[in-house]
Amino acid sequence: MARDPRHDILFEPIQIGPKTMKNRFYQIPHCNGFGSEKPMSQAHFRAMKAEGGYAAVCTEYCSIHPESDDTHRVSARLWDDDDIKNLGLMCDMLHEHGALAAAELWYGGPHAPCMESRCVPRAPSQIPSDFEYLTYPKEMDRDDIREVQGFYVEAAKRAREAGFDIVYVYGSHSYLPQQFLTPYYNRRTDEYGGSFENRARFWRETIEQVRDAVGADCAIAVRMSTDMFLGEAGTQLERDCLPFVELCDEIVDVWDINVSGISEWGEDATPSRFYESGRMLPWQKAVKGVAKKPVLGVGRFTNPDVMVEAIESGSLDIIATCRPSISDPWLPRKIDEGRLDDIRECIGCNICISRWEIGGPPLICTQNATAGEEYRRGWHPEKFEPARNADNDVLVVGAGPAGMECAMILGKRGMRRVHLVEAGEDMGGGMRWIPQLPGLGEWARVVNYRKIQIDKLKNVEFIPSTRLDAQGVKEYGAEIVVIATGAYWATDGLNGCSHDTIPGADASLPWQLTPEQIMFEGKEVPGERVLILDTDGYYMGVSLAEKLAREGKKVTLMTHLGHIAPYMHFTLEAPNQHRILHKLGVEIVPYHLPSKLEAGRVLAGHVYDEEEHQHEFAADAVVLVTQRRSNEALYRELKDSVGIDALRAEGITGFYRIGDCEAPRLTADAVFSGHRLAREIDTDDPETPLPFKRERRVIEREAVPA
């Protein structure tokens, strides 16, 4: 297929300083958990995007000095010559695909806790971080300012030596240059504080020095937040940013424009729960209105029509993507080839970001099971080896995310026939109703993408409205059977706090309900007062609280934890979700677990109360969001009652289970589970994952003195 001529503008080259981007697709700086210390994973991860058509690909934030050490989180680092070697591989691999390499030079100030380096970060003023606990910076004097500017210059030279084509002086997300620009961080009274000219001085001088050092060889990028949403104290578009663009346009080659600070950077990396694609376009357009240099920016762009509109409306010159490039590293190439329905669109769940926020693990993606696995498992998102046992027929029971992914990948690996058999009337499993929770509509892309792909695969057949029992599976005629029957919410209050059921909990009663009873089975929530018990800690409890409160119920949300939905801090959904629940009048009861459920009331105690006082909460209905349990009846019957030998006798040589049916998990991990089995269906032992490559230093014992 050919590119739609409407999208031609996305493929026009553009000059940035001394460099030319071959098209308008740019991978914005984003973390992946690899930094400069897992250089192979880093290089292969970024190169996949270059192979997929990106004209320029950036590192994550790249520390310029041990004083900017973000441990426990993982950044790239350009501290010394060894870092040059490690990040140089990424540059080389990007260049092989004709892409430019960019390095986002970063000094965090008070937000960098320096847990590994044990250095003291420096900042415009001595105020502790609004993002980290207990990190106090040293207030910079003039010598400090010169010294830190020198760090930028030295790091820029190292970036050039590594092979980077674009170097940033990065301010967005409340990092050092933007701290100087912003009264919230900058309370100085010298020539670096107070007036706009003074607050802009540090950043401008630093850009000048970096430009003098490497500007002939590298394009100079500046990433600036144009609104911190902190009122007068925060960076402001009209007061600070537009004048700054005018002040520095001559010495900057490309502007990277977003919004937000660091403590609520979900206003930049917007969850789909709250924001649609292109949320920052008004700010980007305002900068474009005064900048003579190209403007780039993100907006969770997955739709080429929206990208074209962003350029044609004069909002952006270059389409930057972060999460959509994780979800589909081949986004530009698919647009170029007119394969729009092959695009794996980002769902905006931010599970990728959650891994950075947790600090350490590699990123994962709900839509793209291969994200982060390019090097360590050798997985390519678009290329599939024909299976060595492709002459087998496969039965996948259950068309939830895991079953769909497994059937799709087995189809792409050329299995003779794959039958995806589903009891319900359509594909999706739990993802048929989860997207109906408030704000989660885009999550339906998990189902839609796979549905379209499966429909294209001639060797995969979807069979709806067919509930197979053990006999049906046994006699189905497949050589390989994969059970993917998902999970259900516990109906008896079993939970991870008490490791027990809750007395009186029984969702077969009319006044007690599980999430799927409300969302899928249409069970009515009786009365006015609803108590939701959430010992799960992710989105389900708060989503139901929002839904029921919007429907006019008086909602109490109880959890044994100190916060509701703590995982949503990692996905950057927490602040706005708290705002919504607060506005809707939802009563939050942390640190409590019920001891007894009765019609009309719940008795609960504080989890740290040694005297076990019980408090009464009036409730006409109780929603049990305690834990999920695997739907493993079919698997158990086949394994335990029918038996593996009897299955073998029927010609079934492979019998596996995947996803929530094995153990409930994140959707991203359920998809991964299905993908992993399909990738390894032809190994000696497909049930056991192959070991992945670990990037670690292995010592030579002989060489190490005792």
């Binding site: 026939r417 006699e475 189905y476 005629g477 497949a478």
Partner: protein
């Protein structure tokens, strides 16, 4: 109880289409093939008749080259007992009447108690083959059947009329019925049934005298783009009023 069900392998268009060099057909490279949707309902109905009778045979008949056996195998995997494929090169691109002639000879030889066809095929959409077959066999026929109750020597059937009307008719059997989608829920074939269908017999026969073609395709082409369409806005009454104006203008012209 012997039921003959006539099935067709149909081509489905993807996003792009090209024509053959002689411009008389769609280039097969741009087609995906499958059992005609209407015929899967006809096959299911035939299987239900056989199952209700507790005995009998369902014979699937198709007109097509060797590639068309895939669709036939699907009917066999659903449960048809055997298949007959009629082919000679002169049937390539044949019109519905000619296809009916090729079918009639085979169906007649089977002496079935009932003949079921789909209402139409999804690629040609002429809805003619079944009716023509009834004429050639000299059998009564009912088109667009949505319900079938088979008695002894006769059947009560519902047929769909325009505007959502249903006509209930008695018909003597043997008869030819063309089956509408939605009459039943076609069963899916298990992998085992698909494998077993690969072993079932498909007899290949040459047609007899096909006679002169009733119609031929002269040229297939993408119609040239006309003038830009006018989009009508407003409520139903306003749109209806504007349509009337346009019609009146055109009638005058």
């Amino acid at each position: 109880m012997k039921i003959v069900v006539c099935v067709k392998q149909v081509g489905a268009l993807g996003d792009e289409v090209e024509f053959t060099d002689d411009e008389r057909d769609v280039d097969p490279d741009y087609l995906d093939y499958a059992l005609n949707e209407w015929d899967s309902f006809a096959t299911e109905e035939a299987l239900r008749v056989r199952e209700a009778a507790g005995e009998g045979e369902v014979v699937a008949v198709t007109v097509g080259n060797e590639d068309a056996e895939d669709a036939m195998r699907r009917a066999l995997a659903m449960g048809a007992d055997r298949g007959i494929r009629v082919w000679s090169d002169e049937l390539a691109g044949a019109d519905p009447i000619t296809v009916a002639r090729a079918l009639a000879e085979v169906v007649h030889a089977e002496s079935p108690d009932l003949v079921l066809c789909g209402v139409q095929s999804s690629d040609a959409v002429q809805a003619a083959t079944g009716t023509a077959l009834a004429e050639l066999l000299g059998l009564p026929r009912v088109a667009v059947v949505t319900k079938l109750d088979l008695g002894s020597g006769a059947a009560t059937v519902q047929r769909e009329l325009e505007g959502g009307l249903i006509d209930v008719v008695e018909v003597d059997t043997p008869a030819v019925l063309t089956i509408q989608t939605g009459i039943n829920e076609p069963r899916y074939a298990t992998l085992r049934a698909i494998k077993q269908a690969e072993q079932k017999e498909i007899e290949v026969r040459e047609p007899g005298d096909l006679g002169a073609p009733a119609a031929r395709v002269r040229r297939m082409f993408v119609p040239a783009k006309g003038e830009g369409a006018e989009m009508l806005d407003g409520d139903a009454a306003a749109i209806a009023g504007r349509i009337k104006e346009i019609v009146d203008e055109r009638m005058k012209a």
